[in-house]
Subunit: 198 residues, 2 copies
């Protein structure tokens, strides 16, 4: 008798194995954990899932997750500087760094012709409409330093520079606290090319 | 603004981080996955959690998880041989191996004086009552090969041997397909001591 023959357990295992990076073995471990929990704990877990779906929506302005639209960041921060990111996860990463105090714009994707994602499939029109009031002086592009992220950065720069707005890209180079010895060739070449006077 | 300030998200992240081996970063990844899912997918996940709590109980006979008690294994298999395991997870592992066709008995723990778990805290009385009808010829003890598992095996052997029932322990030695070179000393010593004539 496999675990698959106990329908409620196998159903939960299936649900857990849909999570990113979770295989069958890990999903079984999670399912057993739930079974061992009290009914209250399980209910609170189950409720948290429904709650997040019921309450979280996209900010109509920046595209981040929020309970209230426009979100706190759009309401309370100046639109002089705007940081463009791919995902809400990336926005959170920049926020956690703690040094940036401007607004954000979440693209919800990057241009990727191979996957059929063109400029019209990401939130570029929304970006243009947000900066059309002339209040924004600088757009910082913080997409990932991969092919799609770079292509998207180039595309946005070409689109926005003609409007007289400064477009910058986050610095690419060796990570703080890392060792040169272990840096990959591409990163090290980039770090050399983008060297700064001190 | 940290993710913690969006209450429904941070609540879900907290729930996910209670899962075994899940840290904050992984929990956030899971939570974002749920947010990106359709409402239906989230509902089906949420329902699966409640469903498992509502429908899964312990088999009053062997102690395994089941929808109907006594479970299928207890109803359909002979009680001539009984395999004693620590957890339902271990039962599933033995079942998956596919070669064992007898009944099981789940202890729900092993004797561990340091953690305050004595013989009366695991399902030993239930085991004695199950074999009291004289139908069982052999008890296979398949607890883990660690201190608690070994101690529990010894305890059960002392308890049951006087009743004239054969008590065996699963073999301990080098894993199939592994290499001697990488086997640890304790395992290799055990494998040498328990060598068999061929």
């Amino acid at each position: 008798m496999d675990i698959n023959q106990i329908e409620p357990i196998s159903r939960l295992v299936n649900e857990f194995s849909k999570l990113p990076g979770v295989g069958r073995k890990t999903a079984e471990r999670y399912a057993y954990h739930i079974i061992r929990q009290s009914d209250d704990s399980a209910k609170s877990f189950s409720d948290a899932i429904m709650n997040v779906k019921a309450k979280i929506k996209f900010c109509e302005c920046c595209g981040n997750y929020t309970e209230v639209s426009p979100c706190k960041l759009c309401r309370e921060r100046s639109s002089k500087v705007m940081c463009v990111v791919k995902d809400p996860k990336d926005l959170m990463a920049v926020e956690k760094a703690g040094s940036y105090k401007g607004q954000y714009h979440v693209l919800h994707g990057t241009i990727n012709p191979l996957a059929g994602v063109g400029p019209n499939d990401i939130r570029l029109k929304e970006l243009l409409s947000r900066i059309s009031n002339g209040e924004t002086d600088e757009i910082i592009i913080a997409t990932n330093p991969d092919v799609e992220g770079e292509a998207t950065a180039m595309y946005i720069a070409k689109l926005i520079k003609p409007l007289g707005i400064k477009v910058t890209r986050i610095a690419q180079g060796i990570s703080m606290g890392s060792e040169l010895e272990y840096a990959d060739e591409v990163t090290l070449s980039k770090a050399l090319a983008d060297r700064r006077e001190i």
